[in-house]
Every structure is written in structure tokens, then in C-alpha cells.
Amino acid sequence: MTAWAEHEYDVLIIGAGGAGLRAAIEASSTGARVGVVCKSLLGKAHTVMAEGGMAAAMANVDDRDGWTTHFADTMRGGQYLNNWRMAELHAKEAPDRVNELEAWGAVMDRTPDGRINQRNFGGHRYPRLAHVGDRTGLEMIRTLQDHGIHQGFEVHMEVTVTDLVKDGSRIAGAFAYEREHGRFVFFKARAIVLATGGLGRCYRITSNSWEGTGDGHSLAYHAGAQMRDMEFLQFHPTGMVWPPSVRGILVTEGVRGEGGILKDKDGRRFMFDDIPDAYAHQTADNEEEGWRYIRGDKEARRPPELLTRDHVARCINRQIKSNMGSPNGGVYLDIAWIKEHITDHTGHIKKKLPSMYHQFKELAGVDITEEPMEVGPTVHYAMGGILVDPETQMTTVDGLFAAGECAAGLHGANRLGGNSLSDLIVFGKRAGEYAAKYAVEHGDVHPDMAAVERARLEAEMPFDHPDGENAFSIQNDLQSLMQDNVGIVRTESEMQQAITGIDSLKQRMESCGTGGNRDYNPGWHTALDLKPLLTISEMIARSAESRKESRGAHHREDYPDKDEQEGRLITIIEKADDGGMSLTKQELPPIREDLVAIIEENQKK
């Protein structure tokens, strides 16, 4: 028996969420031989959890919208740390990518004149999110899946990549194991697209599924790619807090988009207390105006609940810390109050927010049409990630591409809701297109087979210590370490504790082991997950420690203000020659002049 099975592709795509599937469809359309590897079954990726919608300036609901406004909103939301070219391409191409989904069978909600409907969301000046109730992500992934299965690419389900293999400086393949029987697989590939999504599992309270272990981030880093801005981690303001078993599960921003308000334990609406200057001129200063905005009054300004996620999360955190929160350590999110304005409010809420209604009814025993929800911040999204070229999505390693959440640049210091789903399809397409082109232009590769053998030995290591420490307990300790020391509000000493703690967890990882055999063994899998989890945790902690200012999602107690100098720098991490983590700062390139004019014009509005 050989030690591993082999497959060969022009383009190998790792991950089958929105970005991975969109990349696979695009690469296949060029005639390339394409393989897709996913950790779960096809169609189960975390994209299904996206609720609110995909942002695209189609101007179906408000004809004042256009790509320039979307671009300016994205840059402002990202506190100008974004890669401006990615923000431009995203704003320009998102409408075509959304319309394309309809041509592939997506069935989105409609406007009265029959076009794709769009809803309000935090930080977006106009109603911009194409959606299907509150299950837009499911619609996206199912559409791409159902269209994709007829495009000729091969899907390897429940296969986990543990290492990338190179040919000199160029990417050449991926080493993986399949879960059913624990057999090893080597994928030889001329180009690889990483589309592995997020990394929230290094925290205790997160909206991410078990898959969000930062695999792509870690694979790219260990293959020599540069990472950027890992300190920017989005805490979604509204996760469930009660009961404990559901803590962290997402409550869509769509609740606030439909008129939901945030209240403290005394029922006071606290979001009017603190409105950032940059948004003051477009935020309502009274409840009546806020409600008119929700009902589509174009003259009204938006309610403060729809400020950006970083800000709302911090406001909620402040209420909780000052003992003004709800009994279980959250605040109240109330959609039932709209009965003051809407006669059939029960029907309206069930229609607009069906999954939220069921989620609370079934998991918490709360009827959201009658009672407020208890919510609090939950780790949701990594703005930072693998550094990519804005046009091609190629990383700093030749032939290695990245798209979606694991890639970085579009969102800067804070991502606007709805910009993630559109990110997946805009840059998933680009990654697929350019990876296929790269494969054609650069021809065959000769993978370093000694590295494949090393990857095999590493993957088998947990079985060498059948009585070693249980991987689940190491994972739990890491989650607590990150939750307690690299949270919403950060300070130097805590982050240093985190870095030290990660070092000792790395030691424990070496001796961790698993019993049982190789057939579908979660103990083994969890042991293999520790390497990426510890790698990304260290990146987050080190990057956060290095940014001595507060900006977007990164808030320092010891440096509470923005710093102009720091605000021009991005944080770059890469693997040093000695195997350690090297951190440097890089100056942001100047924004193209016509785009500066667009930003300035929109700041006046």
C-alpha cells in the first residue's frame, strides 16, 4: 500500500464556501482541470450562516446609490486602512456578481417593480443588501453548489489539508487526509486557491463553526506568505448570550435593519449617547427620525443602532461593564417594540426575520415578536489575513492565491455588514480566473516529495502518544486565553500574557495525543487543528500588541485614540528564516487621486 493517494489538477481550491465555489466555477469555465477540497460535506460551509445580505450598489431601491458611494462607505467603515484598489473593484463588480447568481437560480426577495430588493445595513448609506429574508448565505451557497456540480470540477468532501508543498519558490501541491478512514492524499497542483474562511475558533465566544480554525491563514504563513493586519478582528455586536449552550450564535444585523433597538437593563435606548463625529451628520438624533428611516423615508437619517459594528460592539461592551446590562451579561435587542407602529407586527417580524424567530423560539424559548432578545458581542470575522494582489488575488508565494475571509485588504480596520458575501463572489471569481491563467502560463510543477513525507509524519504524530494530553483541553485553554486577553478592549500586559501563554500551549501541543484508530476520529482531528489555531492566535496577539492606537475593531485601553502615523501603516507578519514570527510595518500606498475626490465628496454628504 502506498503512503498516500495522488490527484493532479491545474487549479486546486481549498474550501467550498462562497469564495471557493465561485473560484471553482470560474476556473472550470476556462477549461482548467479543477479540484475542490472541503473539510465538511458540500454545501455546509460557514457561508450558510450569513444572514443579512450581500452589498451591491444596484440602486434598485434608492437610485442615488452607485459604486462611488459604496466605495466611499467601505473605505470609511474600514477607517481608510483598506486596500483602495480592492475596495474599488469590489464596489464596481458586486452588482454583476449578484445578478449572475440570479441567472444561476438564486431566488432573491423582490421590489414592488419586480427587481432584486435591497435592505438597509450598518454603515451603508443607502439600502444596498440584496437578500432572501435572513438566510442569504444559504441561498448563495446552494446556488453556487447547484450550478457548480454541473461545471465539471471534482469535489473531495471531508478532506482536510494539513500542509502546502512547494517547488522552489512556487506552490506545487497540498497534503491532506480524508476523514472517513484517515487515509492520506497528495494533491499536485499548478496553482492553489485558499478559500478557507475564518478563524473564530481560537475564541470561546464566537459565531464560527468548528471549521473556522484559520487553516488557510496558517497554511499560507507556513508556506512563506505574508499576512496583513491580523489585529483587526470583528466582534459582531449581537450574538446570543443565553442559554450558555448557544452563547455566541449570531443574531443578524438585519434585526436592527428592520427597526430593532438596543436597550439597557432599565429599558433605556443607549445608542443615542455616543455617535462618532464621522457619522454624526448622517445619523438620526431622535427616535422618530430613526423610525422614518427604517420605513424608507429618504429624507431621514439612520438610527444609531445602524452605526458600524466596531462602534456598536464597544457601546454594548461598555453597558455590560458598567452593570447596565441584562441579567445574563448582555443587553436587550428589541424588535417587538415596532408594534407601536405596525398593526400586524407579528406577521411582519416572522416574514422579515424567520430564522431569528425560530432560533430564539427553539433555542432560548423567547418569542421575539413579544419579548426582547438578550445579546452581546461575539467573535465573528477576521478583517486581517493573507496579503493578496488586488487584481489577481495572488499571495506573496508564486501560484498561491487567496479569496474571501482568509484574504485581507478589502475591509481595512472594520468590515461593513453585507460586504463579506459580495467579497466572496467578486474576489472568488478573480482568484479562480487568475489561478487558471497562472496554471496555463507556468506549466508543470515538481513538488518537493521529501516535504510531502514530512507532512505525513507530522500528521501521524498524535498517534505516537496514545496517552498524551487530550487535544480538546488544550483547545479550551487556548480559547479562554484569547477570550480573556485579546478581546474587544485590549491592553499591553494582557496581550503579552497571551503571547507567553501561547508559547506554553505550543509545548503542550507537542506531547498531545489521541487514542482510537484513524477512522473518522475527532480526537485526532482536534489535535491537528491545534497547529493552525496556535499559529493564528500568535499572529493576532503579536499584531494587536504592535498597533499602538485604537482604530476600527482594534481598541487599546492604553492607546484609546487614533494615531495619524500608525493609521498609515499596515502590520505585516511572515515566517522568519529561523522559524520564528517576524513582524514589520509597511506604509500604505497613496490612494489614486480620483478616488480621493470620491471619498472627500462623500464625506460632505
Partner: protein
Amino acid sequence: MSTVTLRIWRGTEDEGSFEEYSIERNPGMVVLDAVHKVQAEQAPDLACRWNCKAGKCGSCSAEINGMPKLMCMTRLDDLPEDKPIMVQPLKTFRTIKDLVTDVSWNYAVKKKIKPFKPRKPDAPDGTWRMKQVDVERVQEFRKCIECFLCQDVCHVLRDHEKYDEFIGPRFLIYTAGLEMNPLDTEDRISDLKKRDGIGYCNITKCCTVVCPEHIKITDNGIIPMKERVVDEFYDPLTRLFRIFKPSKKSKAEESS
């Protein structure tokens, strides 16, 4: 804090047994939490699938006290406290290990169904116009999270094992969703009758009962499709008309 006892299937399709595990019970706990606790503390190699833990991905399907359910949406509070909770894999599909089954048959079935084929765009910019009321019935079917609980409970598959002749409730509503899509021009009615075995469904509605998305699979999906099959193949008047009237498919070909 009280404890709860689970009896979980450990083994493969061919051999195995129910093993008993007792764990501490937390407020609001769901069956998936309990299985995870067993995994982390007592049996690290206990296999189960899960992803979102919020009833949206359809990965953690199992039979709980004999009922097909999502483990993440089944609260311990809703199960009888005086006896152990039985957790076993879906019966209709081969057990790979413990609670994990081989559902690949479903993926193969879907691939055979003719894909979506839209009419020409309605507007010069390449977009379409549809009324909300016309898309709503399709949206009901598109809520499906592919947990395959309906496939598991359907006696045509579960007891009669008609895997080669019947596509099951999931793919009947998948087909219904395509057929009822206002933009679609493909014709799948003949396949439904001849290849997909829609006639095997005798409307016991077990699928509707277990659907975690509360889709009215039988009433809103399968019965209308059965009616279309009847109209197409058995109604003498329609058959007569068809001689004079072009079919949906040939109309689509004309327009494209």
C-alpha cells in the same frame, strides 16, 4: 447540577453497540452539546458531524429517541428526564462510524436532475423581473438545509430501499423549486414520472413532520408535482391539446 445519561451508537453499519455515558447537565443544553461533552471528556474518537450549531447547515442529523432530528436544535428540556436519551445514526444511510452516515447517494441523485435554465433576461441590462408573490412558493423550498431527515424518514427509502427508483422528498421539492421558478424553461415532468419515481410517494407526510425548516414538503411540493405529472400523462384533454399547443420546452427554444 443534575446529570443526564445518553445511550449513543458506537460502531459501524455492520458491528457496534449502544454505549452509555453520563454527563453534567447545563441549562439550555441541546443534544449536540451533550454529545460534544462526551467527546471532549470521555470518548475523543466519538464521531459526529456538525457545523453551524444553529439549525442552518443541516449537518448534525441523527435519530434521537427514535425520531429523526437535528441534534443542535433538540433541547434536553424537551426530552423525558426519567430515561436515557437514545442517539443513533440515520437508519436510511450506511453508518460510517458512530453518528456519521454515508449520504453520498443524495449528492449523486441531485446531479442527475436537470439544472436551472432561465428564460432570456427581461431587461436590456440582463436582469429579470419577478413579483414577490410569484417567488414565495419557490423560496419555501429553498429554505431546505439538506439535513436529509426527510429522506431518512421516508418509508420508500427507509423500508423499501428504492434508491434506484425513487429520489426521495428532498429531491422532489428540489425539482418542484426548479419547476416553479418563474424564470425556468426546463421540463422535468417526464423525469419525475419515469425516472424519479414520484408515484411511489403515497402522501403519508412523514417528511413534512420531521422537516426542521417547517417546509410543507408534501402539500406544497410533492402534490403539485404529482398533479403536473397527471396533467401531462393522464389527462385526455391535455393530451389532445398538446397536439396543437407547443410544450414549455419548445416554447423556450423558440424564445432563445
